[in-house]
């Protein structure tokens, strides 16, 4: 999995920026931006799952939507399967849509309450194919089988289903056009634990069967660990760490990743008693007004002077492992051992800002 050489990159994101302008004054002059996604670059290889994690408001969902051009990004380029998504005109974009699909966070909100399951799953078929009515129904049934929905449910409405079943409907809709790439935008966040497992298993199964490529956006680090091949961690609009899964869980490099992982509780009372947590202080700063220097410098337990001045860059410090932190700078690298276990006083429990 470290070796990505022989595999073809399917998605290439370069310098993606999604700014939402802030206007003020009588003439609505442009006074600043909410930098929801600020210069994000990564590659997803064919058949791979890239996990994108981070706290709410860090821009991960915006990033996923901008890649599919559900928003008009401010800058950057996104190439999917050799085709430029951001440069495409509306007609071309529409023709490219079948290739890239999305599964949404809230299965309740992402299904039109006034459409039947068949209509929801059939909508992409209406838009992009010229199947006859019977063919379409056959395809819908096929998709329902694929995601494990009873065919009898075809004429029911979304509200008649439980969360997990709704998410299956959403997945079936995404699969309808045989996409290559699916952005899964927190697909399990709204589900119960037992149901989460069902959905994740289904996604994995479908990936194996159909050779799909996923961008799996989630704040649930344990689920990401399960499904992703590589993991990117976002903080305040930027990717601060991008590594293969096993490496990042075994040895998180960025102080934020370390804190994030340490905060996940373990369903094991014994382990929980002894486990040390890094409690981050305060809240995430506003993306409209990010701190100077490193975005994480306001909450970082290992903050250095340089962090408040200079913005770190995402650099590959080990094969396949990218980190954006001054701790690993050529110059500063010596002072902090990579992967140092968090153990100093700075990590004590603190509240407030």
């Amino acid at each position: 999995m470290f070796d990505t050489a022989g595999v073809k990159p399917l998605i290439e994101v370069k310098g993606l920026k999604m700014y939402f302008p802030i206007t003020a004054g009588v003439f609505r002059s442009h006074v600043g931006d909410v930098k929801a996604v600020d210069d994000v670059s990564f590659t997803i290889f064919e058949g791979e799952t890239l996990g994108l994690v981070g706290e709410s408001g860090c821009g991960k969902s915006t990033c996923g939507r901008a890649i599919l051009r559900l928003y008009e990004p401010t800058a950057g380029s996104v190439v999917i399967d050799g085709q430029d998504v951001l440069g495409a005109d509306q007609g071309l974009l529409r023709r490219m849509r079948p290739k890239m699909q999305m599964v949404f966070q809230d299965p309740q909100a992402s299904l039109n309450p006034r459409m039947t399951v068949a209509a929801i799953i059939g909508e992409p078929l209406d838009e992009h194919t010229t199947l006859s009515k019977a063919e379409k129904l056959a395809r819908i049934y096929e998709l329902m089988d694929q995601v494990g929905l009873n065919r009898d449910f075809a004429n029911r409405y979304p509200h008649e289903f439980s969360g997990g079943q709704r998410q299956r409907i959403g997945i079936a809709r995404a699969l309808a056009l045989n996409p290559k790439f699916i952005v899964c935008d927190e697909p399990i966040a709204a589900l119960d634990v037992s149901i989460q497992a069902q959905v994740v298993n289904l996604l994995e199964e479908l990936q194996d069967r159909l050779g799909l490529t996923y961008l799996f956006i989630s704040h649930d680090l344990s689920m990401v660990r399960h499904i992703a091949d590589r993991v990117a961690v976002m903080y305040l609009g930027q990717i601060i760490e991008l590594s293969p899964r096993d490496a990042i869980y075994a040895e998180p490099l960025h102080p934020y990743t370390q804190a994030l992982l340490s905060a996940v509780p373990e369903p094991d009372p014994e382990a929980e008693k002894t486990r040390r947590r890094i409690i981050l202080t305060g809240d995430v700063p506003s993306p409209a007004n990010p701190p100077k220097g490193c975005n994480f410098c306001t909450r970082c337990p290992k903050v250095m002077d340089i962090c408040r001045v200079e913005e770190p860059r995402l650099t590959e410090i080990r094969p396949g492992r990218f980190v954006s932190c001054h701790l690993y700078d050529e110059t500063a690298g010596a002072t902090a051992a990579p992967g140092a276990t968090p153990s100093n006083n700075n990590t004590a429990i603190q509240q407030g800002e």
């Binding site: 699909q101 949404f104 909100a109 992402s110 909508e123 009898d152 008649e160 289903f161 439980s162």
Partner: protein, 304 residues
């Protein structure tokens, strides 16, 4: 609460969803009573004249101002015209005015509301247009329309059809603003819902987006506007009579009958009560039907 259980696999016979709508509608008592009354009114209006075939404009000078009798169940007016026949004919016009003007105002209001809510660029100009129409005085507008279009319309639709179209258009064109405002607000909210984003990710173009995802979900505020719209259209028509416009005299409407009889209220109270009752009954029944329909059309409520 959902009623799906993993154990129960019901195989539903493939039937039209309108049956479900009807099933739900039936459970709404008020709506059912409203529908019954409305159907009775409609039947009276459309079938009634076949049975009671007295001409509403027939002047019988010997039978003026008669009370209830077998020959004239509702009595006669000051020209000896049969009031029952006039009520039946008036109802046809009033309900037609109510429905058509309401339809027009709903279509206009929804159209403008959806455009303003869905396309950000159109919002400003369309909302200003709404302001303009709110400010436009109805009467000069109606007078202008009569001047400009009465003759061409009379030629194509006959004198009565022509004035009908004019009045309906005038009422419709000056009453859509409230609907537009409400619809716009709803559309703005719907637009932020995830299923719209989902449809966009499929590549659904704007017009289908509106038809398939936005419109069905703003149905209930539209239904409410529509039921109120029928009422206000019928009332507006009668107010036009009061202000000296409205339909020609040999073209009875409930509003006109009511207005004409107000002066004689003390002498012949029945002449006021009958059209008043007819208007109120119609408006009430339509309102309750609207309530029931709104619930029945919403699959979320239907499933409960």
């Amino acid at each position: 609460m959902t009623d799906t259980s993993s154990t129960a696999v019901k195989i539903r016979p493939p039937r039209s969803q309108w049956w479900d709508v009807w099933d739900q509608f039936k459970t709404h008592k008020g709506a059912l009573i409203g529908l019954t009354i409305f159907v009775i009114i409609l039947a009276a209006i459309f079938i009634g004249p076949l049975i009671w075939d007295m001409a509403p404009t027939y002047v019988d000078l010997r039978a003026r101002n008669k009370g209830f009798s077998l020959a004239h169940p509702f009595g006669t007016d000051q020209l000896g015209r049969d009031i029952l026949a006039r009520m039946l004919a008036g109802g046809k016009v009033s309900i037609a005015v109510g429905l058509t003007a309401m339809g027009l105002s709903i279509v206009l209001g929804t159209f403008i509301g959806v455009l303003a809510g869905y396309f950000k660029r159109l919002e400003g100009p369309l909302m200003r247009l709404t302001d303009l129409f709110l400010a436009l005085p109805l009467l000069p507008l109606l007078l202008l329309m009569v001047t400009l279009f009465r003759d061409p319309l009379s030629k194509s639709f006959g004198p009565e059809g022509g004035i009908f179209l004019l009045i309906v258009t005038a009422i419709g064109a000056t009453s859509w603003m409230q609907t537009a405002r409400i619809v716009r607000g709803e559309v703005l909210a719907i637009k932020e819902r995830e299923f719209v984003l989902a449809a966009r990710s499929i590549g659904t173009p704007a017009h289908r987006m509106v038809m398939r995802h936005v419109l069905p979900n703003v149905l209930s505020p539209i239904m409410v506007s529509a039921t109120l719209g029928i009422a206000s259209a019928i009332i507006t028509e009668s107010a036009l009579s009061f202000l000296g416009l409205g339909f020609p005299p040999d073209f009875p409407t409930w509003g006109r009958l009511l207005f004409d009889a107000v002066d004689q209220m003390q002498l012949y109270p029945a002449r006021v009560i009958l059209p008043g009752l007819a208007i109120s009954l119609t408006v009430l029944s339509v309102n309750y039907i609207g309530d029931g329909l709104r619930d029945a059309l919403d699959p979320r409520i239907r499933g409960r």
